[in-house]
Symmetry: C2
Subunit: 218 residues, 2 copies
């Protein structure tokens, strides 16, 4: 009867924790109920006592992963800096856990999405956007974040299947550099920038561009 305390019993918390660890190092395809139950030294059926199904498990993993970002508070900064801080918090979480990008748009992440949109919206409001444009401006910020997250998730999937980020980026830059200049003048011209850009900086430039647009529309 000594085994009922501490780490021994299965719990929703332990399951979610293990799921996140598996997602982090094997991507979404690595998370199966069989592999998960092996890691937790149980049968696949046991997990269903604590979690309704895989969708709920993924939702809980997203929630747990985004919890600190959503807990952060930038009360005493400008609206602009608050948006940047929140967006960068999202970026860093997505960078650490790229599988989030494949989940964030879905129904499973609804409550996390709502909190993010709320926070963005409050700052857009504080920026002085007219009321009837606040919703669209906030959606634009959110959609952009979602798009970057999705690309991150796709890149991570490719990475799991093979090479590193630097290798993939270098290969892609080489492809761009060797394109037909008549058909792809732009891609050829920016191939160098693709090769050595910083994802985080690129993300922040996008946020700033949208903020500049909001400033102009105000």
């Amino acid at each position: 009867m000594a085994t009922r305390t501490g780490q021994d019993g299965l719990s929703r918390e332990r399951i979610v924790e293990a799921a996140i660890a598996m997602l982090d190092d094997g991507g979404e395809s690595a998370l199966t109920f069989r592999a998960l139950s092996t890691r937790l030294k149980t049968g696949p059926g046991a997990i269903y006592w604590h979690v309704a199904n895989k969708e709920e498990l993924l939702a809980a993993a997203v929630q747990a992963t985004l919890a600190d970002v959503l807990r952060s508070d930038e009360a005493d900064t400008t609206p602009r800096d608050a948006v940047r801080a929140l967006a960068l918090g999202m970026f860093d979480a997505i960078d650490r856990h790229p599988w989030i990008g494949g989940q964030l748009a879905g129904l499973a992440s609804r409550s996390a999405s709502m909190r993010i949109i709320e926070r963005l919206g409050q700052q857009v409001q504080a920026l002085g956007m007219p009321h009837h444009h606040q919703f669209f401006a906030t959606s634009t910020l959110f959609s952009f974040i979602l798009g970057v997250a999705g690309q991150n998730a796709a890149n991570a999937r490719a990475r799991v299947a093979g090479k590193s980020r630097a290798e993939l980026l270098g290969a892609e830059a080489a492809v761009w550099a060797s394109l037909d200049p008549a058909e792809f003048p732009f891609l050829r011209g920016v191939a160098g920038q693709l090769g050595d850009h910083d994802d985080r900086e690129q993300f922040l430039v996008g946020i700033d561009l949208i903020l500049a647009g909001i400033g102009a529309a105000r």
Copy 2:
């Protein structure tokens, strides 16, 4: 020997066409090699003679679906209108085939993505953006489009599983309207706008916002 002409033989073209039809009315989960081969009156193995695997099939479906958008030409308009036209073309294609949103970020859609980025980039260049900012500005437009596409795909997944777009949107708006006003002042305030907004208009506002930001940064 009369059967070798016309529609009778299996072909990559017929397979992709059937795949698109299945994706359109059942979503990504409806496309299986078994269901596809049943529809084409063959065995699952037959498809592999024409298509390497599911990833390649999805890539071909994306390519075929986006072909007309990529063929369109807005030579004699302003750069701004060209971006808007291209973006709206993408939106309409994604609206008709929402499963694209789940594919566009992936490696399978690389060549389609390259063409889109090329077209966007040429217009960003024409807008007078300094060279070293063109790549980031173009990426911002592309990421935003990707984000909207991803949301569309997620919404369509929910729709296949149950109710219509209007019902889902109405239910979500009702949830927003009933949130705690202390915790979610913004969402509560825009619940009405969520309920009856037009997705296409919202998308275009986002594009315009980014274009305004590009204009300000020029």
